[in-house]
Amino acid sequence: MDGFDFAVIRDSLPFVWQGFLFSAGLTLFATICGLAFGTLLALARLSGHIWLSLPATVYVNAMRSIPLVMVILWFFLALPLLTGKPVGAERSAFVTFAAFEAAYFSEILRAGILGIPRGQLQAAQALGLAPMQTFRYIVGPQAIRPMLPILLTQVIVLFQDTSLVYAIGAKDMLKAAEISGKNYNRPVEMYVFIGLLYFVICFGLSRLARGWSRGRFAA
């Protein structure tokens, strides 16, 4: 190895960009679907109906007790059995991450909802608001602001975790850098570069989360 050759980075940029798009797309998809499914899970757990809360509780605790890599592998192997045809690493990753993140998001949402004082619920009920209206107009908007920094932190972790799709051979940002490093025989440069890239993206997002947590919301 004769010093650093950073030309490899420039040459591999288009390929790494493809990987970045996959990682970012996976993060975005898992965030949106995970939040939607996670909200349903949180509401089910808070509903007070055993047939809603019990399955949701089991699901959330199961997902949170299993390493993500294992979940990725299981889904990759199990999904084709369910659908009857090969799903492909990329699509399997999208489903897995949405299902996995929903468990974590639901816990953040549940804590946020439980943090709303009982008096606020009573005030909403006393005015005649129905349960769903109370959630939509009173509880939801108040719960979301204190949750934003924690949710964004979870998204940052999620973005880093997308690199775990190496286990099923999907081409994310890290995988793209690894392939480029091998092709040009410059793995060290590529790993340094990709490490910096993760740092810049995640650090940037965490600064954003900090800005939000100092937010304008005066309770």
Binding site: G119, Q120, Q122, A123, A124, Q125, A126, L127, G128, L129, A130, Q133, Y137, I138, P141, Q142, R145, F217, A218, A219
Partner: protein
């Protein structure tokens, strides 16, 4: 208008209400007093179904609260409630606090809700504060907004749950003044309070509770001059001596 018959409620083995009977006619102002933990607030919250109960009947305007089911929100909308800790919605400004339920529960238009809100804000003397958030208002102002919010729904009766207990002494007067005005306008009111001066001036009847029971239900003048029970006499002597 409100009929409470043989109302009992338990938390586990502990009885918080025992065989309470109370009836409130249209236009009446009834003050409920008694030591803390006597069940006053619980009784009040059974009237609009915020607290469930195990035994007895609560009938509001001909509707059984315990059996109202899906009609309960509509019934609650017709009973204005004011809380000890105001419970304004902190994420909404004053105008939105007043308009939300008018629009979502009564189905009024934005314009009609705002007109109504402005009339009531003026009535509680807070017209200039429509654009402020609750955190920007004093306790007394917040409680007056809360009263206006309840009045926006055109309630048939107002329920007050210790409306001045969380206020600095100098702010109590402004809230009581608004309540005086309401009573003078003929509003039906049930008021849980320790403000015996207010009770003396405004109430038609005083209900005294202890240990989950209604011990007295007496004309105001008679209650203050000659309480029927020893327990009420003791309570009055303690509360009036300072």
């Amino acid at each position: 208008m409100i009929e409470i018959r043989k109302l009992s409620k338990w938390y586990g083995d502990t009885a918080v209400l025992r065989d309470c009977d109370l009836s409130i006619r249209k236009g009446e102002v009834v003050v409920v007093c008694g030591p803390s933990g006597s069940g006053k607030s619980t009784l009040l919250q059974c009237i609009n179904g915020l607290e469930p109960f195990q035994q007895g009947d609560v009938v509001v305007d001909g509707i059984h609260v315990a059996r109202a089911g899906r009609a309960l929100p509509r019934l609650r909308a017709r009973l204005g409630m004011v809380f000890q800790r105001f419970e304004l919605f902190p994420h909404l400004d004053v105008m939105d606090n007043l308009c939300l339920a008018q629009r979502r529960v009564l189905g009024r238009t934005q314009g009609a809700s705002e007109d109504k809100a402005r009339v009531l804000l003026d009535r509680v003397g807070l017209s200039e504060h429509a654009g402020k958030y609750p955190a920007q208002l004093s306790g007394g102002q917040q409680q007056r907004v809360a009263i206006a919010r309840a009045l926006c729904m055109d309630p048939i009766c107002m329920l007050f749950d210790e409306p001045t207990s969380a206020l600095d002494p100098e702010m109590i007067g402004e809230v009581l003044e608004v309540m005086n005005q309401l009573a003078a306008d003929g509003m039906t009111m049930v008021v849980v309070t320790h403000e015996m001066g207010f009770a003396h001036r405004i109430a038609h009847r005083v209900v005294f509770m202890d240990g989950g029971r209604i011990l007295e239900d007496t004309e105001t003048a008679a209650f203050f001059s000659a309480p029927q029970t020893e327990r009420a006499r003791l309570f009055l002597s303690r509360i009036l001596s300072h």
